[in-house]
Amino acid sequence: MKNLVKIVIVSLLIVSCNKSADYPISNYILRGGAFIVNEGNFRSGNGSLSFYSYDSLKIFNDLFVNANGRPLGDVPNSMAIKGNNAYIVVNNSGKIEIIDQSTLKSLATIQGLNSPRNISFISDNKAYVSSLYSDSVAIINLNTFSISGYINIRRTSESIAIAGNNAFIANWAQGKEIMVVNTTNDRLVDSIEVGNEPESMVFDRYGMLWVLCNGGWMRQYYAKLVEINPSVNKVVKTFTFPTKEESPTCLKIDGLGQTLYYLDDGVRQMDINSTSLPATTFIIQESGESFYKLGINPVNSDIFVTDAVDNTQRGYVLIFKNDGSFVTKQQAGIIPGSMFFKLTFETTND
C-alpha cells in the first residue's frame, strides 16, 4: 500500500512537472500568429478556437474551452480584435464572446443577437454586427458590452467594410446590393447594386472597395468581382466569371493592398490592375481536400487556407508562402473557418 501511495505521488509530480513545463498559450499568442475560428457542425456545439503560432510553428486547439471551462457555442463564425479584447461572433448561439486576447479568459458575453455573422469596429466605443436572418445591423457599445441599438437596413447582412464615415454592408443571402450606412448617425444613406450574393469585400491600396459576388449558393447566377469607388458609391469595374459553375468565395488582399486572393476550386491570385480574372489556380486543391476559408498574413503575405475535409472530422490549416510554396499543414478543429491574424511587426516566416 505504501508503495502504491509513493507511486501515485511520484506520478503526480511527473504530471505536475510536465504541466509547469508547458509554455502558457498567452506567450505564444503575444509572439504572433493567427486565430482560427472552427465553426463546428450546425447545432452540434462543437465549434472551437485554435491559434497557429509562428513562434512554435504549430497549432494550439480547443483554446476557448481550455481557458474557460465551457464550450464556445454553436457555429462560431468570425473573430476580430480591438485593443486587448477579442470578439468572437457565435452565429447559432446568437452571441458574442468577449475574451482577453492573450489569456483568452472570458470578459463578457453579449447575448440576444439575431444570427450574428461579423463584427466591425466603427470607433473605440462602437461596433456593427451583421445578421444572416434579420434586416437590422446591431450596434454594440464596446464600453458596456451591450447592444445599444439597431440600424434597419431592410436587408440581411454579411461582411462589413468601413471607409471614412461610411460602413459598406453586403446583403449576401439572396441579395445583390451593398448597403451604405453613415456611421456618425447610424442611418442608411445609400445602396449600390452589385452582382448576386455579395459575399466578401476588401479595400485595395487606393481605397477602392472590391466585392466578390458569389452568384448564389445554388449557382443560379454568374459570379462577379466588382470594384466600387467608395467616395461616390459607384461601380467602377465588373468582372463576370465565365460559367455559372464557378462559385468563388472568400476575397482577401495582401498587406500591400495590391494582390487579391480568393477561393475558386483552389486559391486564385489576381493583381488589382489586371484586366481579366485569373485563368489558372495559384494553389491547387488536391483530391480529398475541401478548401473552405482563406487568410492572408498582412505583414508577410503568407497564405493560410483551411481544409474542412468532410466537414465532420477535424480539418486542417494549410500554410503557403507568398510564392505558393507549401510550408506546413496542421490539424485544427471541425470546419476551420475564418482566421484573424494577430501579429507583431517583427513576425516573419523566415
Binding site: 462543437n46 474557460n68 447575448q111 449558393w217 468565395t249 468532410d310 472530422q313
Partner: protein, 621 residues
C-alpha cells in the same frame, strides 16, 4: 409480469379459429424474432415507442428528449435502416425513409414484433437493421370491453387512452382514441453556458398528440375481411440545444392517416392474403428565425398479395407481391414527384424433425429497372427432441431504396443514387425452459456481423450546399443477449428480465487521405447498452424496478469526444382491484429515481426525477 395487467386477456385467444396475416413464429427458420410481452406494453400505454424500445430491448434510440424526435439505431445501422410496419404494411415516410418513434403511442398497439436483421425481409425490403411490426388485432369472443387509461405527471404531462372493443364471433369492432399534452418544462442543470452551472427551465418544448384507430373485422369461418383506419396528428415546439439561441420559433406539425383493407382466406392447403393501404403523411416545419416554412405531403398507395401453400407435411412455399406508388408534394422539391416500385418475394420454409431451413428471394422493380436481387437463407437445429433449445444461423443480403429526400431534395438530392445494401451474418442460441412448475426461463444470445455498402451520406462537395452520395461503408458487429426468468407460486409473482447488447459499428474508410474517422466507432452508437427489470407481485399489489444503462457515445467522428454513459432507474408500484366485471388499476411511477443529469444528444438536456400517476379502469361484459 407484474406491471399493469394486460387488459387484452391475450392468454384466452387460443380459440382463434382462423389464420391471421402474422404467423410470427412459424416463418423464417433460423432468423431471430421477438415479441414484446403484452404486460410490458400495458405499462407503456401512455408512452411512446421510443421509450418502450430503449428500456426493454437492445435497440438504441437517439432522442432529442421529451417531445423531441427519436430515431432508432438497430445493431449499429442508421435511422433509416429500421423498417416500421403496421400489420405488415410499411408505414415509414417515403420522404425521410425513417420514422419518428416519439410519435407512435404504445397504447394504440396490441402487439409489437421485432424482426432482427435479415428476418425483416419477411415484412419488406429496407430494414437492414431490422423491422418493427406494429400489430393491432381483434379478440374473437362475445364480450364488450371498455377501458380508460389516464395519466398525469410531472412537467405538465396529461394523457388519456380509451379503448372500446365489441362484437361476437363473426364481427368485431375496436376503437382506440388517444391524446397526450405535455409542457415538458423541466428543470435542468446547464453546465455549458457559463463558468458556473445554472439551473434553467426548458422552454418551447410543448407537445400535443391526438389520434385514433378504428378497426372492423368480419369473420365467416373461411375468411376474414377487415378495414382499419389510423389517424394521428401532433403539434410540437422543437426545443433548442443549450448552446443555440433560444426562441427560434421552431415548430413541427405532423399528420398521418392510414387506411387499410385486408382479406385473409384459407382454402385447402393454401392461405391467401390481400392488403391494400393508403398512407398519407404531412410534415410542416417552421423556423421563424430562419424564415423557413417547409411543407411536405406524401401519399403511398400500396397493394400486397400473398399466397402460402403447403407442399407435403414439412414444406411451405410463400409468394408475396407488393406494389407501391408514392407521391410527394413538397416546397423543397422542384416539382411533384412520384415513385413506383414493385417487389416479388418468394420464400420456402422446411421443417423436418429437429431441422428447419428457410430461403427467400426478393426482386425489386424500381420504375423500369430491376435491381440486384436480395436473398436470405437460414437454418435452425433443435438440440434435444421435445425441448425448446435452438441453434440458429442465417445469412442475408438486404437492400434499401434511397429515400425520396435523398434523391429529390433541393438542393443536394441526387436522383442517380444507388440502393444501399448489406450482407448480414448471424448466429444465435435460444432456449425456453419450464423448470419444475412455477419457474420459467427464456434465454437468447446472438452474434451478428454487418457489411453495409453504398451507404448514403450527405456531404459537402464542390457546391456550397451538401449533397447525397453512396459513399459510406459501415461494418458493424456485436452481441445481443436477453434473459427472462419468471417464478409464480400461488399469490406470489416474481420476474427478472434483462437485455444486454454490445455493438461495434465502424466507418469503413473513404477516399480521403488519412481519414481519421476510418475504423472508428460511429457517432451516437453506444458500445454497451443494458437494461433490467425486476418485478414483484403479491395478491393485488405489484411493483417493479427498472434499470437502464447506456454506455458512452462518441460525438466526434475521430472518437476524441464523447458523452459519458449513464444509468437510469425507474420505480413503479400499484394495486389492481377487481370486482365482477370491472377492474381498476392505480399505478405510481418514478422515473429517473436518482435524478441523474444526462444527455442523449450533446447539449440537449433531459429531465431529472419525474412522477406519474396512472389509472386504468376496465369494464368487461
Amino acid at each position: 409480469m407484474n406491471g399493469q395487467l394486460s387488459i387484452e386477456k391475450d392468454t384466452f385467444k387460443i380459440k382463434e379459429v382462423i389464420i391471421s396475416g402474422n404467423k410470427f413464429n412459424s416463418e423464417a427458420s433460423g432468423f431471430k424474432k421477438k415479441s414484446i410481452d403484452s404486460s410490458i406494453l400495458v405499462d407503456y400505454n401512455n408512452r411512446n415507442l421510443a421509450d418502450m424500445l430503449s428500456e426493454n430491448t437492445g435497440i438504441f434510440i437517439k432522442s432529442y428528449g421529451m417531445g423531441g424526435t427519436a430515431t432508432p439505431s438497430f445493431r449499429g445501422t442508421g435511422a433509416g435502416h429500421t423498417l416500421v410496419a403496421w400489420n405488415g404494411i410499411n408505414i415509414g415516410s417515403p420522404m425521410l425513409g425513417q420514422t419518428d418513434f416519439s410519435l407512435i403511442q404504445v397504447g394504440l398497439i396490441d402487439d409489437i414484433q421485432i424482426y432482427y436483421g435479415g428476418a425483416s425481409m419477411i415484412i419488406n425490403d429496407g430494414g437492414l437493421g431490422g423491422a418493427i411490426n406494429l400489430v393491432t388485432k381483434p379478440v374473437w369472443n362475445k364480450e364488450t370491453l371498455i377501458s380508460l387509461n389516464t395519466g398525469i405527471g410531472s412537467f405538465g404531462q396529461y394523457s388519456g387512452l380509451m379503448k372500446v372493443r365489441a362484437g361476437n364471433y363473426n364481427l368485431q369492432t375496436v376503437t382506440k382514441c388517444y391524446f397526450q399534452n405535455s409542457e415538458n418544462n423541466f428543470r435542468y442543470l446547464n453546465k455549458e453556458e457559463g463558468p458556473e452551472p445554472v439551473w434553467q427551465t426548458r422552454t418551447d418544448n410543448q407537445l400535443r398528440i391526438h389520434g385514433f384507430i378504428q378497426e372492423l373485422y368480419f369473420n365467416n369461418k373461411k375468411n376474414i375481411t377487415s378495414a382499419k383506419i389510423w389517424y394521428q396528428n401532433s403539434d410540437r415546439n422543437l426545443p433548442a440545444s443549450m448552446l443555440t439561441q433560444p426562441n427560434t420559433g421552431e415548430k413541427q406539425f405532423d399528420e398521418s392517416l392510414t387506411a387499410m383493407l385486408n382479406y385473409d382466406a384459407s382454402k385447402g392447403r393454401s392461405n391467401y392474403s390481400f392488403t391494400s393501404a393508403w398512407i398519407m403523411n404531412k410534415l410542416n416545419y417552421v423556423n421563424r428565425l430562419a424564415s423557413i416554412d417547409s411543407r411536405n405531403y406524401s401519399q403511398i398507395l400500396t397493394a400486397k398479395a400473398s399466397l402460402e401453400n403447403s407442399i407435403g407435411v414439412n414444406t411451405k412455399l410463400k409468394i408475396v407481391l407488393d406494389a407501391q406508388s408514392s407521391e410527394v408534394k413538397s416546397n423543397n422539391y422542384d416539382h411533384n414527384t412520384t415513385r413506383n416500385t414493385a417487389t416479388l418475394a418468394v420464400s420456402a420454409d422446411r421443417n423436418v424433425n429437429r431441422y428447419g431451413t428457410s430461403i427467400l428471394f426478393r426482386e425489386i422493380l424500381d420504375k423500369d429497372h430491376f435491381l440486384i436481387p436480395d436473398f436470405n437463407a437460414g437454418a435452425q437445429f433443435r438440440l434435444i427432441d421435445g425441448k425448446e433449445y435452438y441453434f440458429k444461423a442465417s445469412i442475408s443480403r438486404n437492400s434499401k431504396i434511397p429515400s425520396m429526400n435523398d434523391m429529390y431534395w433541393v438542393p443536394g438530392g441526387n436522383p442517380d443514387l444507388k440502393n444501399e445494401y448489406a450482407f448480414i451474418y448471424e448466429i444465435s442460441y435460444e432456449m425456453k425452459q419450464n423448470f419444475s412448475g412455477p419457474l420459467k426461463l427464456i434465454y437468447n444470445v446472438s452474434v451478428f456481423r454487418y457489411n453495409i455498402k453504398d451507404m448514403i451520406q450527405w456531404h459537402p462537395g464542390v457546391y456550397s450546399y451538401w449533397s447525397a452520395d453512396n459513399i459510406k461503408k459501415v461494418n458493424s458487429k456485436g452481441v445481443e443477449s436477453s434473459l427472462s426468468l419468471d417464478y409464480t407460486l400461488n399469490n406470489l409473482r416474481t420476474g427478472v428480465r434483462a437485455d444486454y447488447s454490445y455493438t461495434i459499428a465502424q466507418a469503413g474508410g473513404s477516399n480521403i487521405e488519412n481519414d481519421v474517422s476510418s475504423g472508428k466507432q460511429l457517432m451516437y452508437i453506444p458500445e454497451h447498452q443494458a437494461n433490467a427489470l425486476l418485478s414483484f407481485g403479491y395478491k393485488i399489489f405489484y411493483s417493479s424496478w427498472m434499470f437502464n444503462f447506456t454506455g458512452k457515445r462518441y460525438i466526434t467522428v475521430d472518437n476524441s469526444k464523447y458523452l459519458p454513459g449513464y444509468i437510469l432507474n425507474n420505480l413503479n408500484t400499484g394495486i389492481k382491484l377487481s370486482l365482477k366485471s370491472t377492474s381498476i388499476d392505480i399505478n405510481f411511477e418514478v422515473r429517473n429515481f436518482f435524478n441523474i443529469n444526462y444527455q442523449s444528444i450533446a447539449y440537449y438536456p433531459l429531465p431529472g426525477r419525474s412522477y406519474m400517476v396512472k389509472i386504468l379502469f376496465q369494464l368487461v361484459k
